[in-house]
Symmetry: C2
Subunit: 429 residues, 2 copies
Amino acid sequence: MIADLSQSDLEALGARVRADYDAFRARGLKLDMTRGKPAPEQLDLAEGMLALPGNRDHLTEANEDARNYGGVQGLAEVRAMFAPTLGVAPAQVIVGDNASLAMMHDAIVWALLKGVPGSAKPWSKEGEIAFLCPVPGYDRHFAICEEYGIRMIPVPMTGDGPDMAKVEELVRDPAVKGMWCVPKYSNPSAESYSDETVRRLASMKTAAPDFRLFWDNAYVLHHLTDDRREILNVVEACAEAGNPDRPFVFASTSKMTLAGAGLAFFASSEANVKWWIARASKRTIGPDKLNQLRHVRFLKDEAGLIAHMDKHRALLAPKFEAVTKALSDRLANQGAARWIKPAGGYFVSVDVTEGAASRVVQLAKEAGLLLTAAGATWPYGKDPNDSNLRLAPSYPSLKDVKAASEGIAICIQLAAIESEQAKRKSKAA
Amino acid sequence: MIADLSQSDLEALGARVRADYDAFRARGLKLDMTRGKPAPEQLDLAEGMLALPGNRDHLTEANEDARNYGGVQGLAEVRAMFAPTLGVAPAQVIVGDNASLAMMHDAIVWALLKGVPGSAKPWSKEGEIAFLCPVPGYDRHFAICEEYGIRMIPVPMTGDGPDMAKVEELVRDPAVKGMWCVPKYSNPSAESYSDETVRRLASMKTAAPDFRLFWDNAYVLHHLTDDRREILNVVEACAEAGNPDRPFVFASTSKMTLAGAGLAFFASSEANVKWWIARASKRTIGPDKLNQLRHVRFLKDEAGLIAHMDKHRALLAPKFEAVTKALSDRLANQGAARWIKPAGGYFVSVDVTEGAASRVVQLAKEAGLLLTAAGATWPYGKDPNDSNLRLAPSYPSLKDVKAASEGIAICIQLAAIESEQAKRKSKAA
């Protein structure tokens, strides 16, 4: 532990780590660990889609022309294929265009302007409303709330999902209308909600009768190890608890097939699905059904989808191992950082010593290494402890991930030493 | 003129037309003239797109990977290709997903929740707001207003576009925030706005500083004759009049390439485009850029696009001729209906005698012929004169369009005779 070192040992370590940092910087690398997007090699796995569905292949199983207008809910064969992954019947699935974020955005916009099933009035007529935001969390969720003036209330993650005692207390406020959840391999902490967490979310008493769980199951099939985590079926759990309309489930194939040309999904109760179709029918005559057909032709069935995800895992797992190995090699038992080895998802979340995160990002930047801005994982971009870092190892090559991770570990160690030195100085003064 | 016939001539004509109607009904046809969507033959014109962009073809002109996330504004080469058609610089174009209706919907939603450039506050905080709705007009425009409680004020079309004296008077009300316009080959009247109409729309004084023209140029290249109508450039006209932010221009390739898998466009001033990108960036990480690339590979350039539209014209023009010929053959100089021969677009608009439109639709239905519901071309589905019919000849085969048009002409004539008979009866009573 750095904090336990004698003053001279601390100075000696500081000098060594500073030298390591200078050596790293001298390599003049340009590395980017900010982007949670698939690497070109992952996109190559779906390269065959670029010539699909192929000429004269434009009829659906229902013998409808996928080229023409219509079909707001999405093709039956696509809904059937993804329904098991979403944990609902095919009739409870909506297939959207290429972005589940857009579906989440639209759900909020429609809730604001129209209300959801169970609303006494549109949310925008309710005065100030609020969403619970487990932290660290996904900046694009928070950006939607900020855009529309929805107050965000951070709730700490515990390792089993959000702190449920806090959540249960906060939802007693009728202004709390919703909650962001990335229940499996969470962005960025990689933790998965325990069964008890899901059950408590499903059954808790909310003051708002139209409270919604925004259940962004973005990493539902994105395993990195043989420990394939499964979480409780939230649609079933909510129905059993007498709150069938509580969950809005979202997912997409963006990180399965093609990041910019995937399919997004909404899954929920019959009432919510009916509500969605009524709203979406005002917005569009139908989604891109050729892209839906393209997905069916390429993935074929659920087994094809699972097999495809294993290919992603083979490309991604070594990158995640490189990150956690570099962190362990340098930072084990230093008290400088805490992290978990992700069993899935797209991120490694690192908690450094309080007040050190932005210093780490700055040190890294000066050494040619881009990290996600400190604070990005908190509502309004403000981490009150300035301690969380989100590392995204998917996009760079394995070689670059290795180099970057070593650099990050050096920066974290150096920042921790600087921080300890400053603490001792201020105590001495 | 039916109204000028002697009573015995009217009875004789009535008996003949009733016999024609019974004969038509006896054919037991199942015809549908409701759907303004392309025929399978038109979609076949773009069949080559189903295998595009093709394997290993995923790099943009800027050497970016079109498969991955990003690029909210759309590919530069797509914006460049469509910019002349939209009448703006490529930097003033946004490429959306497959539905321009969705872009119109989102523009209204964002205006309601955020306001537009020049707004003092979000439109939803302004109390009741209103849109001008030239009639007959597009039911899906009106449905968006109805969905969000925007009051609709009908304005009659004149043959040169909307009645500008009425428009100029109505926009003196600050509650009037916008106006729906289909300026070329209008849906359904097929008329195009005169240069004077466009200039007056661009320069009129509006009480609302953030008034917007929702300029749905859906049929910008959809000519049916050699008389290729051009309308004044609304973005330029508004800029010249000192109202650069007034027009929101929309268009799409839905009726150029593939109805369900085309590209939608938004074009406007720099301020509006900047506003759009800021809003859209909260909703999505980017559009489907592979579909954009697919369009460029298939259409190649503006000349390719124009040539492709000529192929549509070759398929569509005979269908429109069949409709207007059938109407002329039976209804010329009867006083039973007025219509124009469209020079472009997707519809034939027919004004029948007051109170007769729903009777025509009913007669047609009983004879196996589906027509768009009477009133559909008016806000709230209510045509106060019950006189406008929208015929959509694009989808059925030419043979079916011929049969349907003869049937429609019979129904119109019969309804007119019934109406005249009822009038005389009520006078006599």
